[in-house]
Every structure is written in structure tokens, then in C-alpha cells.
Symmetry: C2
């Protein structure tokens, strides 16, 4: 096993539910607590295992909701108490990652942190390792560094990062500055990005010195920054933490770190990128999950569920089985069937993005019991 | 209420499971025990209610499996013990209807019997009544009479009856002889039948004197006939019935009454038809059930299930809900979703006929627990 990186701390924000994977993902069983790859363990645990050789298991922090504390600790038996950062309610990624940064910088002023989503799928541990080690070198040089995934198709499901000039940093031979961040494009635009090799996918991975990250937040959202600093000052005191959380956390602005850190840093020439040559997927919806499980084989039915009892006749798509029921499919193409004890979803991969609308509609119509 | 017809006895064979409606229809919950029309009562009870004004409730016999005795008696509280004819195992329609005929003719030598499936849907009680009364007049004249349904489309799902010359029988102004019976045709042939008004659908309704029916069975299947007569002779004796059933019933030839009675009688000019101007459907599969429930409205989702909790977004087809689960459909067209506690079916109306193959496959693969 490789040596952990000095001064490096990994931060895993484990907050999102993954609404587009409803009814598989739920408030009480969010996406990061599922095994979506058939690896035999949850995505959170996969993420932990990927980061342990880079940071060491005593230097991985998880930011998650109070409701998930027990599940997280059960999944990650080696995690230190001090590394479980509990949110009383979700306040988006600036608050989650910013709080971790503010806490860690008090403990270690020169710490470099890297934040990695708890619910993404990555294949290729060695190249992941190499990318993170390069990114840390770039971060030590004072930049905020992201890892850009080499696109394998003209996806409209991800944001893009446009690379600018190369950046000369020792130990980071592939580093470059970032010209700009682009939101999810339409198909035509995605095709031009895919053809132009200077675009990569934004996987939401940010590596930087904690103080540099906090300075960027301070420059763009001073109130939010002040709240985070105040909260961090109380954090490591048992008596002060609770009241501080109750007072400060609910007032923090909900805003994604892309807007408070990545985009403004890019505009100032302070955002860098190193390429990630590994397979990456955010498994954002059932179309993406189907592709992941079927491993590119078309016309096959992808099946998720250890005890699935499925009878399929010339059908394609995906079946997620969480019950003991016999599921029979006849002649349905690109179908998505998600069978859980209290909710059933039937759609097609084409409509996979619309699952979130169903979740919203269930909330509005008083059927939140199945969310 | 109209006066019951003298000497008339209605016979309801209630034997089929309705495999093409699996997993709604099951061995222990066959089609005739379901409310498929939203009438609030089972198809069996609908059938009974339709026949009661014609025969009187003391003159309706039901031929069914031993396993369904309790359900049948619960559905038909007025039924006489002597009118529940139990099969120890299914032996097809000649045995079922022939046994009823053989039993009834011993009790009343001049009885006219009419057999009507327990699991068809009929709308238009007055015209049904009129058709049966005509058919009984034809039967009294010594013919075997069927009721031909006026086709409303070029269906390939039903057999056809070709009408020949009109038949002069008092009280049966629309009677005609039958030239021949035709099995389910292909679409092109169905179109020519539909255009040619001398074809009607075979709804499996046969009205005749019991002795005439038995004579036809005797002429074509003498062994089967001998078995039925022997069994009927023992039937009304408590001590003899059981042993006779055990000895004779399992040996009876399994053959549909179309082959033993209708087709040979047609060939001899002894089969007549009166038209049925009522809406009729055998609800043979989920495509047919969808049409029935949506009442011809396209692009609507048909729903069967009193407590269905459905969230549908631009989907069409049918959902059958037998659980309390929330069922969410997104953008699926002509879909068939049948949600039961132990089995789930997902297909499309186009593939509805293939459901029977699933049932066969489940048997072969040792999953008969859900049949």
C-alpha cells in the first residue's frame, strides 16, 4: 500500500438523498448507503476504501446528517469520533465542505483538504490515486485544484470544465489552469465539448489548502464564512458546540461550492485542474445505473437485488428488486422497474431524469411516507 | 321482473383460472371471483344476477372445482346445495356441461339447459334476456342453439359462427341455422368476416334440451357419454356419489364442447344461432381488460383496485393494484402493471397474450407458489 500524503485530509460530504433514484434511494436510505455496483459494499464504503491509502483512515472526515450517524459509523468502523461532522439539517455543499475546512484548519493550519462525494462510482484505483497526488501538489502551490474526468461520450448530464494553459507545478505533470466552468449543456454543445479535448467533466472534486478555500468563501460570501468560522471555534468544545450549531447552522446560506469557490476562483486564474483517467459516474439516475450495471451490453436486462426473482422474456432495461416478489417482464424495452416494499416505480431509461418530479409530486400530495 | 322461463335451467361452468390475467387471476383466485368491471361484485355474481330473472334462483347450477366451493357459496347465497356440482379436477367443458345435463335430465326429462361462462362481461340485460328467450324457443324445437355476438371490430381473439338460412321458430324471430364454426382467424380473415354480416362471435353460450345435448355427445364421444350417464345415476345418492366420482371423473376425456357438440351439430344442420345485440367480452387478457375499463378512451390510464395509490405522468395502459404500495408511472405507453403481494407483472397491451407463457414458465421453473 502507498504511503498516505503528508498534511492531507479527505472530506466526504454524505448529504444527498439521490432523489432521481427514488424509490431505491430514500431519506432514510440515501444513495451513498446503497451498493449500486454489486461490489458487496455501499458507495460510502467504496469511497472510504479509495481514500484510505491517500489520507490514512484517521484523516478522513465525513459530513453527514444526524439521522445517518449510526449508519455511517456502522459502514466505516475505523472512523474517529472527531471525524464525524454532523449537520442538523442540509445546508448545501459550501456549508458542508466549508465547515470541515474551518474545523480542520484550526487543528492544522497547513492542512490540504480534498472533498469527494460519498455516492459516486469510480473504477481504477491507481489512476485515481495518481490524480489526487498531483492535485495535492497543485493545492500546496496555493491553487484550488479540481479533477477533470476525461469524457467518454457527449453527455448532457454533467457540467464541464474548460482547461486553459498548462500550469507548471512539480509533481503534477498534467496540471493546467481552468478557463471556466460550464453547467450541463444541451446535446449539440455537449458534442462540441466532446470533440474539443480541452473540456472535461466536473466530478465535484476539490483539493486545496483549507485556508485557501476559506479565503475564497470569505471573498464571495462573507456572512456565510463568518458563520462557519464561528461554528468551528465552538466545535471542539463539548459544551459550546450544541448551542452554536443550533444558533448558526440553520441561518447559513444554502449554496453550492461551485458558485462560492470554483467559478470565482476560475475567473481569477486560481483554479487548476488535473485530469482523471479513471472511469467515473455519479449514477445520477436509473439510465445511468442501467448503463453501469449492464456494463455497456445493450438488450440485456440489468438486475440489482441480491434475492431478485425475475422472469424476463425479451425485455431490456433495469429491475431493482428489494422484495421477495416474483417479477415478470414481457417484451418491455429500456424499462425501469424499481420494486420496494412500499413503492413501485415503472418508467423507461428515456424518462429517468423525470423521477425527481415524482418525488416532488409525492411531497406535494401528502405521500411523503414513501420518500 | 320478468317471469322465469318454464323448464329452463341455467348452468354456469366456473372452471377456468384465466391464466392470461396472471398474477391477478390465480389458481386460488380465478378470474370469475374478481370484479373486473368495477361493478362492486364478482363476474360470477354478475353472471348469476343476469340469469336469475330467466331461470329463477333455484334453477341455476354452478359447475366448479372443489377448491372453489366455499367462495362460490359465499358469492351466491341463494344457491341450492343440489345446484353446486363439484369437479374433483378440471376435465374441460364437455365433461362439465355434460355432467350437469346428465344430472338435470334425470330430475326433469324435458329440461332445457343454457350454459353461460362464469367469467365473461355482458352489458345490456334486456337484450341478453331477449336473446336467451329466443334461444330457448329454438331449443324446444329440438335444436342446439347458440347466441352469436354481433362483432364490433375485426377481432382475431374470438372464434366466429357463420350463419346460414333463417330458421322459422315461433317466438324466435331472429333465429338462423349455423353453417359452420370457425376458430380464431388471422387479421385479414377477421376483416372479411367483419365486413360480411353473416359472421358473429362465438361466446360459448349453448342452449338446448339436455337430452338433445347428451345425444350429440353420445354420437361423437360414446365413452365420455357413458361415463357421464353413469356418474349422473349415482349423483343424487350420498353414498354412491363419492366413489363414482373417484372412479369415473378422472378417466373422462378432456375435450371442449365445441368439438363434441357444436361443430358436429352444425354439420348436421342441427345447430342454430340467435343474435346477441348486447356488449360482450370474455376479458381474455390485459389488453381486453384495459379496453373494458377505459371504455374506449385512449391515452388514459385504466386503474383496477379499490385502494390504488397511483401517481401517473403521461402514461397510458392499465394498472392493477392489489397492495397498498404507491405506484408511480412515468412516460410509459400502453403499459400493463399488475401489482400483487407476491408477484409483479410488467408488460404492454401488445404482448398481453404472452402472459400465459409466463405462467407456463413459472410452472416449469418451480415457482408455482405464485400461480
Amino acid at each position: 500500500m502507498a504511503t498516505p500524503i503528508d498534511d492531507f485530509y479527505a472530506v466526504i460530504p454524505a448529504g444527498g438523498i439521490g432523489s432521481r433514484l427514488w424509490p431505491l434511494s430514500r431519506a432514510d436510505a440515501p444513495k451513498f448507503l446503497h451498493d449500486l455496483t454489486g461490489s458487496g459494499q455501499t458507495l460510502l464504503r467504496d469511497t472510504w476504501d479509495r481514500l484510505a491509502p491517500l489520507a490514512g483512515i484517521e484523516r478522513i472526515a465525513v459530513v453527514t446528517g444526524r439521522a445517518h450517524r449510526a449508519a455511517v459509523e456502522q459502514q466505516l468502523p475505523g472512523i474517529l469520533d472527531a471525524n464525524v461532522i454532523l449537520e442538523s439539517e442540509p445546508r448545501d455543499s459550501t456549508a458542508a465542505i466549508g465547515l470541515a475546512a474551518a474545523i480542520l484548519v484550526r487543528r492544522e493550519p497547513d492542512v490540504v483538504i480534498g472533498s469527494f462525494a460519498a455516492d459516486h462510482v469510480i473504477r481504477g484505483a491507481r489512476v485515481f490515486d495518481f490524480a489526487v497526488r498531483q492535485a495535492v501538489e497543485v493545492a500546496r502551490a496555493g491553487y484550488i485544484c479540481t479533477i477533470g474526468i476525461q469524457p467518454t461520450e457527449a453527455s448532457t448530464g454533467f457540467g464541464y470544465i474548460k482547461r486553459a494553459d498548462e500550469l507548471i507545478v512539480e509533481g503534477a505533470p498534467e496540471a493546467a489552469l481552468v478557463e471556466r466552468f460550464v453547467e450541463k449543456p444541451d446535446l449539440e454543445t455537449a458534442r462540441t465539448y466532446f470533440a474539443d479535448r480541452s473540456y472535461s467533466w466536473n466530478a465535484g472534486m476539490f483539493i486545496s489548502r483549507a485556508d485557501v478555500l476559506l479565503a475564497e468563501i470569505a471573498a464571495n460570501e462573507p456572512e456565510l464564512h463568518a458563520g462557519l468560522v464561528e461554528l468551528a471555534a465552538a466545535w471542539d468544545d463539548r459544551d459550546l458546540r450544541g448551542p452554536a450549531v443550533d444558533r448558526i447552522w440553520p441561518e447559513l446560506k444554502k449554496i453550492a461550492i461551485d458558485y462560492t469557490v470554483a467559478e470565482p476562483a476560475a475567473a481569477k486564474g486560481r483554479l487548476a485542474v488535473v485530469p482523471g483517467h479513471f472511469d467515473w459516474d455519479d449514477v445520477g439516475d436509473f439510465a445511468s445505473l442501467t448503463k453501469l450495471i449492464s456494463n455497456g451490453r445493450k438488450n440485456d436486462l440489468a438486475i440489482l437485488g441480491e434475492n431478485a426473482r425475475i422472469l424476463s422474456d425479451a425485455s431490456s432495461g433495469i429491475v431493482v428488486s428489494q422484495t421477495s416478489r416474483v417479477i415478470s417482464l414481457i417484451g418491455v424495452q429500456d424499462i425501469v422497474v424499481v420494486d420496494t416494499p412500499d413503492a413501485l416505480l415503472v418508467t423507461t431509461t428515456e424518462h429517468a431524469q423525470r423521477v425527481k418530479q415524482v418525488v416532488d409530486a409525492l411531497k406535494l400530495t401528502g405521500r411523503g411516507d414513501v420518500l
